[in-house]
């Protein structure tokens, strides 16, 4: 029971990170129908940007308040990652819109290889460990010499994710940009006819996707305290699994799928085998796609994004 509770806390933390990345996959798939293969690497790059911003703030500028530092790091990572994804969309995907179906996917795979190798070449292939940004933990329950704890880091991740999801929901549901996005997702030609700037909307979708991935990247860096150039692939595939599990194109589905994948992964590691935890995630991907291709929340006729 105590182990289960502890894993539940860990799983939701991990799941929040996956959910934030999964939103990027599901939004881009919803609006232009492509699997943005490079999204995992955009996430990895954002963690590197956060790492550099953090070192710059603490070591060079001497910001001592950790709350302030984290806040600035988050903003900086979101800004730069959005810029990166905006350029990627302009350079690698926009010229291929309307081309044959595999072209954007191949271009995205090329972009993914390019990004991870760019980071490897520019920052070196080694792990980048940083001292823990935030320390401290609360003991929630102490029974049979097993303490169920929740660290401050986990609390921050839960809080930031919740706040951002609310902001994001507001953006999609209530603002003109969100309306344009939903319109483009349903019918691009019609949206263009009634005056929606489709190109701009798609660009903004990539920017938002990158901003959320940057939040996930910053949280990932803060949680694990280490990042390396190859860290984009596996979290990327898992987040994609989350998007598929929740029903690709469905935003609540992406978040819930992310939480489920996070929980399944931590539970699997705790009760079965930590070596095969990736196999669990990949198997869920395959099983979902084979038996439940529309996912938990994706219905073909339902309003998406």
């Amino acid at each position: 029971m105590e182990v289960f509770l502890q894993q539940l806390i860990n799983g939701i933390t991990l799941g929040s990170i996956y959910g934030l990345i999964a939103i990027g996959y599901t939004m881009v798939f919803g609006i232009i129908g492509m699997v943005n293969f490079a999204h995992g690497d955009v996430f990895m790059m954002s963690a590197f940007i956060a790492l550099i911003a953090f070192l710059l703030l603490t070591a060079w500028l001497g910001v001592s308040s950790i709350t302030l530092a984290l806040f600035i790091v988050l903003i900086v990572a979101m800004l730069f990652t959005s810029l990166v994804n905006w350029v990627i969309e302009r350079v690698a995907y926009r010229p291929l819109r309307g081309s044959f179906r595999l072209a954007p996917l191949i271009s995205a795979i090329g972009m993914s290889i390019f990004l991870s190798n760019f980071v490897q070449v520019s920052q070196g292939p080694r792990n980048k460990p940083i001292p823990p940004m935030v320390q401290g933990e609360f003991v929630l329950l102490n029974r049979n010499d097993y303490a169920v704890t929740m660290s401050v880091r986990q609390l921050i991740i839960w809080g930031v994710t919740a706040v951002l999801l609310v902001a994001f929901w507001y953006l999609v549901a209530k603002t003109p940009l969100g309306r344009a996005q939903r319109a483009c997702e349903q019918d691009q030609k019609m949206a263009a006819l009634v005056g929606v700037d489709v190109d701009r909307t798609i660009s903004m979708t990539f920017v938002i996707a990158a901003a959320l991935a940057a939040v996930a990247g910053t949280m990932y860096l803060m949680y694990y305290g280490v990042v390396t150039f190859s860290d984009g692939f596996v979290p990327g595939v898992k987040a994609f699994t989350a998007a598929v599990l929740g029903g690709i194109g469905s935003l609540p589905g992406a978040v819930i799928g992310g939480l489920l994948i996070g929980l399944i992964e931590t539970m699997w590691s705790a009760y079965f085998s930590i070596d095969y935890k990736d196999v669990a995630a990949f198997s869920i991907l395959a099983i979902t796609l084979i038996f439940l291709p529309q996912g938990l929340f994706g219905r073909p006729d339902v309003e998406k994004v």
Binding site: M34, V35, M45, F48, I49, L51, I52, L55, L56, A59, W60, F80, L83, V84, V87, V91, A92, P95, L96, S99, F100, R101, L102, A103, L105, I106, S107, I109, G110, M111, S112, I113, F114, L115, N117, F118, V119, Q120, V121, S122, Q123, G124, R126, K128, P129, P131, F233, V237, V244, D275, Y276, D278, V279, F282, S283, L285, A286, L289, I290, P293
Partner: protein, 455 residues
């Protein structure tokens, strides 16, 4: 005349503005990761160092490149696009007719040419690193071409079957001492068995979803290989895999070795040349079988499936069987290539079967032009030969200093090339479609006119 000059000047202003904008953008993109470098200092702390010269050098380079592009290259491209396509000349037809025969003659004679040019010692590198390495990828590309190019099923986990072939050969040869020639077909059969096994559940999926599930299967097989240490020795891999023999004659320096039996002086070259011809024959076999299969009902069913699955089904074609045969055939050739890879290296580990490998093979097929055998071969030569040749570029070290290692940038350029070629020619290098069956006249059509991959 005056108008032309003013238009020129406006263009110039616009080019400058574009260049400035691009440079600012490049500054934004490169500032975090190029401007700063994270390094571990002597006390094992991560510290930042700046690289302003590199950052501003790159930003200036990007800006200038953009400027040159808009004033020189872009007008040229528009001009070329407006020019009508030249009718194919007699010389071009002649070249097209003899190109394949000439290429095959060249690859057969390649070891001889290299030995003449480089001598015995120098030739090993050229045959091994270029000849064999490229031919393995040509073969893998042709094998995947059956699945992706002919049947239109996007497979991102092709390397799994390559791994099955390699591990089948390595384990069976080491455990039971069976010979390469017996295990080569066996490895192919085992791989195609796995192809059917994995293919069965996934074939009802379409397009992108199929791609992702095959990727998942590829990764699962790799993780199992890593973790099943009792069987596969995990990360450490399998060493001492037996080498192939020529009718029982090994290629070593012993008394019963190849050199001694034929009364020659021992040289590692003989084994390399022998391996070269094995992979050449295997690759040509793949191409030949594929060409023949295209004319059989199953091959035509593959191509019909690629163009339109619903039409295919309404004509009474069993799409499940058709897809499964494509999967199994593709996997079989990967299995052959895998067992050859194992015997050539003498050592295999899960490192050789990562997703990157699948992506490389897929990009070769797509860049070459899906379904085109010649295109795939050209793409394999360009991509693999291109990355191999980067190891040889000594003059770069002279420019950028002795610590400069060009091989580091291989994958970087590889990814960049994939994106660029997709933008330049989304349909691949060779896009024409020649029908395998025709009524009166064989007409090639452009790939632009066909739909594909909706299967």
């Amino acid at each position: 005349m005056a108008d032309g000059a003013s238009a020129q000047r406006v263009d110039m202003a616009r080019a400058l503005r574009d260049a400035g904008f691009t440079a600012v953008l490049a500054l934004g993109l490169l500032l975090p990761l190029i401007g700063f470098q994270t390094i571990t200092d002597t006390r094992n702390n991560l510290v930042l160092v700046t690289r302003w010269p590199l950052l501003f050098g790159l930003v200036a380079f990007v800006g200038i490149a953009r400027f040159v592009f808009s004033i020189a290259i872009a007008p040229y491209l528009t001009q070329r696009r407006e020019r009508p396509v030249a009718a194919s000349s007699a010389a071009r037809n002649w070249m097209r007719k003899w190109f394949v025969s000439f290429s095959i003659a060249f690859v057969v004679a390649y070891p001889g040419i290299v030995v003449l040019l480089e001598g015995f010692a120098g030739a090993v590198k050229w045959i091994d690193n270029f000849g064999i390495q490229i031919l393995i990828y040509v073969m893998l590309g042709w094998g995947l071409n059956i699945v992706v190019g002919l049947a239109g099923l996007l497979d991102l986990g092709y390397v799994a079957f390559y791994a099955v072939g390699a591990y089948s050969y390595a384990l069976l040869a080491k455990t039971f001492g069976l010979s390469f020639w017996l295990l080569l077909p066996l490895a192919g059969i085992l791989a195609s068995f796995w192809g059917i096994l994995l293919g069965f559940p996934v074939l009802r999926l379409r397009g992108d979803y199929l791609a992702i599930v095959t990727l998942a299967f590829g990764e699962i097989i790799r993780i199992v290989i890593i973790n099943w240490v009792d069987l596969t020795n995990g990360y450490a891999g399998i060493t001492g895999i037996p080498r192939p023999t020529l009718f029982g004659i090994p290629f070593n320096a012993d008394d019963n070795g190849f050199a001694a039996v034929f009364g020659l002086e021992f040289s590692p070259l003989y084994r390399v040349v022998f391996l070269y011809y094995i992979i050449l024959v295997l690759a040509l076999l793949t191409a030949f079988v594929t060409l023949r299969l295209r004319r059989l009902p199953v091959g035509r069913a593959w191509e019909a499936l690629r163009e339109d699955e619903i039409a295919c089904r309404s004509l009474g074609i069993n799409t499940t069987n058709t897809k499964l045969t494509a999967f199994a055939m593709g996997a079989m050739f990967a299995g052959f290539a895998g067992s050859f890879f194992a015997t050539r290296q003498g050592f295999i580990s899960p490192e050789s079967f990562t997703f990157l490998e699948s992506a490389t093979i897929l990009s070769i097929v797509v860049l070459g032009g899906m379904g085109s055998q010649i295109g795939v071969a050209i793409a394999a030569i360009a991509m693999i030969g291109g990355t191999e040749i980067m190891r040889e570029l000594d003059f770069l070290r002279r420019i950028f200093g002795p610590t400069f290692d060009p091989t580091q940038y291989r994958m970087l350029l590889f990814g960049f090339a994939m994106v660029l070629i997709m933008i330049w020619r989304p349909r691949g290098l060779i896009t024409t479609r020649a029908p395998s069956v025709f009524l009166k006249e064989r007409k090639s059509i452009s790939g632009e006119l066909t739909r594909e991959g909706h299967g």
